[in-house]
């Protein structure tokens, strides 16, 4: 059984909460006491039906305002897969929440109201999926019941979407006509749309091929923590603990330690008293080396044959998440995997108009939720893997030194 993380996007009232409620309900992931709580809330709100949308509402403030303002994680599983849903808000002022949910997702479900067709929001959400390099996009054309389950309407919206999505970096796009409210094509195929020949949404989620979403080509192992027992039994044991970010490491492999640049050999890959012949992303292991070198948290093991570029000048797309404005010259802390270095924003090259992908030059400062291409100078070398090919090492966050808050998410453009 595999794990699939996906995120749901759509503008207010497109039926996102209803869809998630429906997936949880039809996969029997809502249990009796949760159902009772939903029934109680439904009655209190005056609904005469089971308001499945209530299954996904989280915080009290949100319940009161009737909108989602954060990222809520929901879980369900079928015999085939375990699913983690990041339920994120759709408003433009919550772009940062969507970026957060998108950062770990294999797949995004974008909801489109069949009556409205592709909207500005649809475009924005798809652009975010593209910037965050989400491998799979599912466009669910919802409320088909309100357009007479019309195939013509479905094809029209699909055409509209494809016209704009050509310029995006999304490999795999699927269209599914659904009614979240009535359940058509969500879990079971609908009798109302015999013309639809694809799979139901759930069936698609169970089957979509995700094995190649991981980068297994480029070995990268950021050192997290040094394990040194210093006991009578293990006087000289020293292993470097971490999670394989990408690629495969084998016992006996020659590796390069960055940024210092020395080469050495893997003598052992340890995991809980066992020695593994190899380790691959995203396993957490501990690696022992043939040489006694000065290695600490923040260093990265890479393959010696085909090492990545390192450097102090980064070109990156960033999503600004802080309420303080970002201006060129600002110094922040850049965290890339387990490494933290000081970093200065040297230039805002252009801001990305997130509804159209237009590039706006001459922008003096970034505000919360803005996405821009920026140049960054770091105080020490960092890996320069292109995010498009390596989501695990091509990403970073920027931390405000004064408030300690996470101020931005960034992806490196190689």
């Amino acid at each position: 059984m595999e794990l699939l993380r996906f995120l749901t996007a759509g503008s207010v009232d497109d039926g996102k909460s209803t869809l998630i409620g429906r997936l949880l309900y039809d996969s029997r992931s809502l249990l009796r006491d949760q159902l009772e709580a939903i029934e109680k809330s439904s009655r209190k709100k005056g609904d005469d039906f089971l308001n499945l949308a209530l299954a996904t509402d989280g915080l009290k403030a949100e319940r009161e305002q009737g909108i989602t303002i954060d990222v809520a994680y929901k879980y369900f599983s079928t015999p085939k897969r375990k699913f983690i849903i990041a339920d994120t808000p759709g408003h433009i002022q919550y772009t940062r929440n969507m970026v957060t949910g998108a950062s770990t997702a294999n797949l995004m479900v974008v909801l489109v109201d069949a009556r409205n067709g592709v909207t500005e929001q649809t475009r924005r959400h798809s652009i975010i999926a593209s910037l965050l390099a989400i491998p799979h996009l599912v466009v669910c054309i919802n409320k088909m019941d309100l357009v007479g389950f019309s195939q013509e309407r479905f094809e029209q919206i699909k055409e509209e979407f494809l016209q704009f999505s050509g310029k995006l970096n999304i490999k795999d796009i699927t269209f599914i006509p659904i009614s979240a409210l009535q359940g058509d094509n969500v879990v079971n195929l609908s009798d109302n749309m015999p013309w639809y020949e694809g799979r139901s949404l759930l069936h698609y989620l169970e089957e979509v091929y995700i094995e190649s979403d991981r980068n297994l080509q480029n070995p990268r192992f950021p050192v997290q923590y040094v394990i040194r027992p210093e006991t009578a039994e293990y006087p000289d044991y020293r292993a470097y603990a971490g999670m394989v970010a990408s690629g495969i490491f084998k016992q006996g492999d020659a590796i390069l330690v960055l940024p210092a640049g020395f080469t050495t050999t893997i003598t052992s890959i340890d995991f809980y008293g066992k020695q593994l012949p190899e380790a691959f992303a995203p396993q957490s292991v501990a690696i022992r080396l043939s040489d006694n070198l000065d290695i600490a948290r923040g260093d990265v093991f890479v393959d010696a044959v085909n090492p990545p570029r390192i450097g102090q000048d980064i070109l990156a797309n960033v999503c600004w998440m802080s309420s303080d404005e970002l201006r060129p010259g600002t110094v922040l802390i850049l965290q890339q995997n387990t490494r933290r270095v000081k970093a200065k924003i040297t230039e805002i090259v252009y801001k990305i108009e997130i509804n159209t992908l237009d590039e706006i030059v001459g922008v003096g400062a970034l505000k919360m939720n803005d996405i821009a291409l920026v140049k960054i100078r770091t105080a020490a070398p960092v890996l320069l893997d292109d995010y498009k090919f390596n989501r695990a090492t091509g990403s970073f966050i920027l931390i405000d030194e004064n408030t300690n808050l996470t101020a931005a998410a960034g992806v490196i453009r190689g």
Partner: protein, 301 residues
């Protein structure tokens, strides 16, 4: 390709180990909150996988309500002597004696809420900057939005609107003096995942989790253990039943379920058929729909 397949339990385990190591690396003085329940037992198992053959880079901290099932303490002490790690215990009774908190009275009296004060006192006494806990996001609606690294202010409070965005697996544990972080390595496990992991790893659990005969009484559709710590109304009659516990917190707010399951596989089967989520058997959440959120804001784990 298929040899590089990663099973969902392996993925969850690798993530939890990663988070434990991040905690060890990013904080000066963390502790693992150990309640004796299955989730914290799973945390200990994951810590063994994260740090052996070295010792844990943190002690275990037990906030003892004084209303424990004896089996829990027995289990705790056996576990500690087996893994040879440091255990720190702080007592709710001490907080009561010092006048820091007032014992609740009445039918629903519980020390569950009082724990918060003892925990916050322990955090400042031991100068902890991170507390590792076994909470999971599937437990409750407010938990669904909890971060993996959840920053609390110097009063231990959680402010849902001020949460730091958490991107990729880049956890930001930078804090000011006096603040601390609650870390939740098994956030993405569901109850069923925990049981399947326990089964796969052969993790030992206190006997309370398995069916046994016990004197219980029925209240609000749930079965409570008959004990000196729980106020029982005259009409609530004690009967002997085959029960097991789905969570084992403070005795006063932990109800049992009727069950025949005497091993982990049987529990998993029972769970798959179950109609009630595990927090349904915790009285403290029934008090109001927003109960958990209120307690979390106040510093509850």
């Amino acid at each position: 390709m298929s040899s590089y397949h990663i099973n969902y339990l392996d993925a969850l385990e690798a993530e939890a180990i990663y988070i434990l190591r991040e905690t060890a690396a990013q904080f000066e003085n963390p502790a693992l909150l150990f309640s004796g329940g299955k989730d914290s037992i799973v945390l200990v198992h994951l810590a063994l996988k994260a740090f052996r053959p070295a010792k844990f880079p943190f002690p275990l901290l037990h906030i003892d309500t004084g209303h424990n099932f004896p089996e829990t303490l027995q289990f705790r002490d056996n576990l500690i002597s087996k893994i040879k790690e440091r255990l720190i215990v702080r007592y709710v009774q001490d907080s009561i004696d010092k006048g820091r908190v007032k014992e609740e009275t009445g039918k629903y009296a519980s020390r569950n809420a009082l724990q918060t004060v003892t925990l916050l006192d322990a955090i400042s006494e031991l100068q902890l900057d991170a507390c590792i806990g076994g909470a999971r996001r599937d437990e409750e609606k407010a938990r669904a939005k909890e971060r993996i690294f959840s920053v609390r202010d110097e009063f231990g409070q959680w402010e849902p609107r001020m949460q730091r965005p958490e991107l990729w697996n880049l956890y930001n544990g930078k804090i000011r003096k006096g603040e601390n972080v609650r870390v939740f390595p098994i956030s993405n496990f569901t109850e069923l995942d925990v049981w399947r992991y326990i089964e796969r790893e052969g993790i030992e659990l206190p006997s309370l989790y398995f069916t046994h005969e016990r004197d219980v009484f029925e209240r609000d559709g749930l079965w409570y253990p008959d004990s000196p710590y729980i106020h029982r109304e005259p009409q609530e009659t004690v009967v002997r039943k085959k029960v097991r516990f789905r969570t084992i917190g403070d005795m006063t707010c932990t109800a049992a379920v009727l069950s025949q399951a005497d091993n982990v596989a049987a529990i998993i089967e029972e769970l798959i058929k179950a109609e009630t989520t595990e927090r349904g058997s915790r009285l403290d959440d029934k008090r109001s729909e927003a109960a958990m959120e209120e307690r979390k804001r106040g510093g509850y784990f």
